[in-house]
Symmetry: C2
Subunit: 325 residues, 2 copies
């Protein structure tokens, strides 16, 4: 089996590739070839798996054709300009997130007798306030960012290309990834991870909103599990609706902090400094808080058990089981 | 005031232009210039209104720039490849309905200090079965045709370009237009009009489905009224959700026939020949039947009063008040 991963150097892309290399199989079929697209250094073949790297702008004319020329059986399409950059740079966001994705779909359509499984990572940014308490499977997409607009358009294209039989697509809307490994970043959503990751590593972190703020989370390990399930499940079960929200854990910041207390104790909690930031608070006020994802659950997607489980996964996967605080 | 109409030769486009020329004003401001785009013969100036015609493919590179070069204050964007053709010709549908609309929006964005009102005609084809009994204002778009996909994408683009301040857009999803004037056509939806228009003109018509089929209608005159209201209303009332379903009249075919009986008598009804067509029935089974359009009603959009009123409008507007049957 030949697998293509776009955005392979991103946080989820990297973890997905590690999982594929560890499993050496997908849905019971041995992986023989990986094509990785991103600004990544080339890797040598591993354990009998040939690895090809393409460090290109996949949205440039002709690049998508190169990526699918080897007719990968499964395509994980993760590459995208992130939300903040797509909002700052209108042209770049549309060029990469819309035109790039469409070029990939077109490159697939152009090949004869070729219909790969395509797993597309969409986003809860396709939804815009006002929301119901829980966003259900039939709630409309009214994004309030250009990034969310581009993802919503990609969902529509994926559904139409699938209906037409050009590809066998599924679009999954990932919850906010928490605990996001790495350094604190300035994304407005960064604090949800910062206030967990930094105290677990013995560092201070800033909480810019009140602890009544509720949000929707999944661990990186669980997000990779969604991708693997989407790549291997029977898509006939989806019917015509090819895109859906993934199950997450809905918690308030106060509940996050309680989970941190249980996992790492009071000293960790004391590392969280409350410094109100009305600008961040105003952005977060327009974000989804909770979902009713009965469709994804019925289709076999497995969420994290609890926010505490999300923290324990982080400790196991990123900290080698050791808590600094 | 300068007004641009794309698709000006289409059925609704033609009626809109006639209305604008009759009113000679829009929202209380005198119309001084009309730019008409379509495969239309040029018209001379009328009553002090300069008329420019462009018989071009508006989706070709550079054409949209020409259409907006004169900075029209209001743009009615009606031009589109229709549903059947967009399904048959994948490339043409996407080129015109998606790329053409995006090029128009881009041509507007590129002009400095320019932010026209843009009224876009979307379609109930953005919705796909399974439906609730009445499709509400928060129901998701899952089109099951390429045409519906293209319209849904255009809605997303219009909303994002409006949010960004590049244009002041509103997208209105018209009900099926009934009674559609002209010759019977082979569109799967044609019979809804055929079985009214032909008997009113003393001609036989074929009913290919059972009379329990329910559908969603608006007269051409009312559809033009929606366009005018969308062009003149205060769009601040819309908030971030720029696209909405227009109010229609939901009736079964049996109720259509009863209305015909009241308007034109039993002889007209006897001109309807029942010839089941399972293929048409299977298509129609996936169409919306009814909507809850409380948002449009609250915003001042005025539907037809009843299906009987739709028939009387047809008799007045198309038959000079005379019924043949």
């Amino acid at each position: 089996m030949h697998i293509l991963v776009t955005g392979a150097a991103g946080m989820i892309g990297h973890k997905l590739v590690e999982r594929l290399l560890a499993d050496r199989a997908l849905g019971g079929t041995a992986i023989t070839r990986l094509t990785l697209h991103d600004i990544v250094p080339p890797r040598a073949a591993q354990q009998g798996i040939a690895i090809t790297s393409h460090a290109s702008d996949f949205s440039a004319p002709g690049e998508a054709e190169k990526l699918v020329a080897g007719r990968p059986d499964v395509i994980f399409h993760l590459a995208a300009i992130v939300s903040g950059e797509a909002e700052e740079n209108f042209d770049k966001g549309y060029r990469v997130n819309l035109d790039g994705t469409r070029r990939l779909f077109e490159a697939i359509r152009t090949l004869q007798d070729y219909k790969p499984r395509l797993v597309f990572t969409s986003s809860i940014a396709v939804f815009g306030a006002p929301f119901p308490d829980r966003i259900g499977d039939e709630f409309l997409s009214t994004p309030q960012t250009s990034y969310g607009t581009q993802k919503a358009i990609d969902e529509l294209l994926l559904s139409d290309y699938s209906r037409r039989g050009f590809l066998d697509g599924i679009g999954i809307r990932l919850p906010t990834i928490c605990v996001r490994p790495g350094k604190p970043n300035k994304a407005a959503s960064g604090f949800f991870s910062n206030i967990m990751r930094e105290p677990l590593a013995g560092q201070e972190a800033v909480l810019p909103v009140t602890d009544t703020v509720r949000h929707w989370h999944a661990s990186p390990r669980t997000a990779v599990g969604f991708l693997i399930h989407a790549a291997t499940m029977d898509l006939a079960m989806l019917g015509a609706r090819r895109c859906l929200s993934m199950p997450g854990v809905s918690v308030t910041v106060a509940e996050q902090i309680e989970a941190l207390r249980r996992v790492a104790g009071e000293p960790a909690v004391r590392l969280i400094k409350r410094v109100d930031d009305p600008f961040v608070a105003s952005i977060v006020a327009n974000w989804p808080r909770n979902f009713d994802t009965r469709r994804a659950l019925a289709l076999g997607f497995k969420p994290d058990d609890s926010f505490e489980a999300i923290l324990r996964t982080h400790v196991a996967d990123e900290l080698g089981g050791k808590i600094a605080a």
